[in-house]
């Protein structure tokens, strides 16, 4: 225990221990390490983007097939307003395609922004 140690000896060992740690410490300047960190910041984990993008695209495809059925069930002649006009003019396939386009744009917007979250 330190209480049993001679304070002068303890100070000497303290300096010795600090010197031992300093001797085996990495260099104060290491441009190679800094460069490696910069590279990793510039190139975020591509696998994660691919996994997220893949999962999102699969989810959109599943949702899209259901959406087409759902839109197809809506009687175009009974729907008023913009949706009614769009259904009558474009048909359910075109509307689902447009929704897919919006979702794809959403992924394109969100994924680059996720760099800061990784």
């Amino acid at each position: 225990m330190t209480d049993d140690l001679d304070p002068m000896n303890d100070d000497a060992f303290d300096a010795e221990l600090s010197a031992m740690f300093a001797e085996v410490a990495p260099p104060q300047e290491d441009p190679v390490f800094v460069e490696q960190v910069n590279k990793r910041l510039a190139n975020p984990d591509r696998m994660r983007f691919l996994a997220l993008g893949g999962a999102g695209a699969t989810g959109s495809a599943v949702a899209g097939t259901q959406l087409e059925n759902l839109v197809g069930l809506i009687p175009a002649d009974q729907v008023n307003g913009v949706l009614g006009q769009a259904l009558g003019f474009f048909g359910p396939e075109a509307i689902v395609t447009a929704l897919f386009g919006v979702m794809a744009l959403g992924f394109a917007w969100v994924l680059p922004g996720m760099r800061s979250a990784i």
Partner: protein
């Protein structure tokens, strides 16, 4: 004039200034890597965790409130990274086995080998918390209160761990010298 840590941090938070962040990395890499190298006892793994530490720090920079030193904040992230990696023990053991087959780090002078091995062997004789506290205070030069912040231990506990660890190391080195 060299900008302070606070000024560089403000530049990173304001505009994700990568040059300012590089200066912070350059300034603190030695302390962070020194802690991780002694904790991991494996230079390659320690450097990987150190890189991860700096990337997390960059992404979470706005969470740094200025309470405590920036170095202590980085060391806390590094210590958390170390604990997380230690939980993945199986993966680490595999990596260690692979690394054992490879030559040791090239950036360290061969003359350091003996000192490093001695210090790591001495540190291995300490209890886990003693070892962590001694490493935080001596490898990165953190104060006892900074080490208490990093580990989440009470200040008095950190002080006694450091004193006890130091006494054990002293006895270990004395025994080693006597045996030589």
């Amino acid at each position: 004039m060299t900008p302070s840590d606070g000024e560089l941090i403000a530049m990173v938070i304001a505009g994700k200034d990568q040059r300012a962040f590089s200066s912070l990395v350059s300034r603190h890499q030695s302390a962070v890597r020194a802690v991780l190298m002694r904790l991991c006892r494996n230079a390659a793994l320690a450097d990987d965790l150190a890189q991860e530490t700096f990337i997390k720090a960059y992404n979470k920079m706005s969470a740094y409130t200025g309470a405590g030193t920036f170095k202590a904040w980085l060391c806390r992230i590094a210590y958390t990274e170390f604990l997380m990696s230690a939980r993945k023990r199986k993966a680490i053991d595999k990596t260690m086995e692979k690394l054992k087959a490879q030559p040791m780090e090239t950036h360290q002078a061969p003359a350091d080998g003996g000192a490093r091995v001695d210090l790591d062997r001495g540190l291995a004789t300490l209890g886990e918390e003693e070892r962590t506290c001694v490493i935080l205070c001596y490898a990165s030069g953190l104060s006892h209160s900074d080490a208490a912040e990093v580990t989440g231990l009470p200040l008095g506990t950190v002080k006694s761990h450091v004193n006890r660890g130091k006494a054990k190391l002293k006895a270990w080195f004395e025994r080693k010298e006597a045996a030589a």
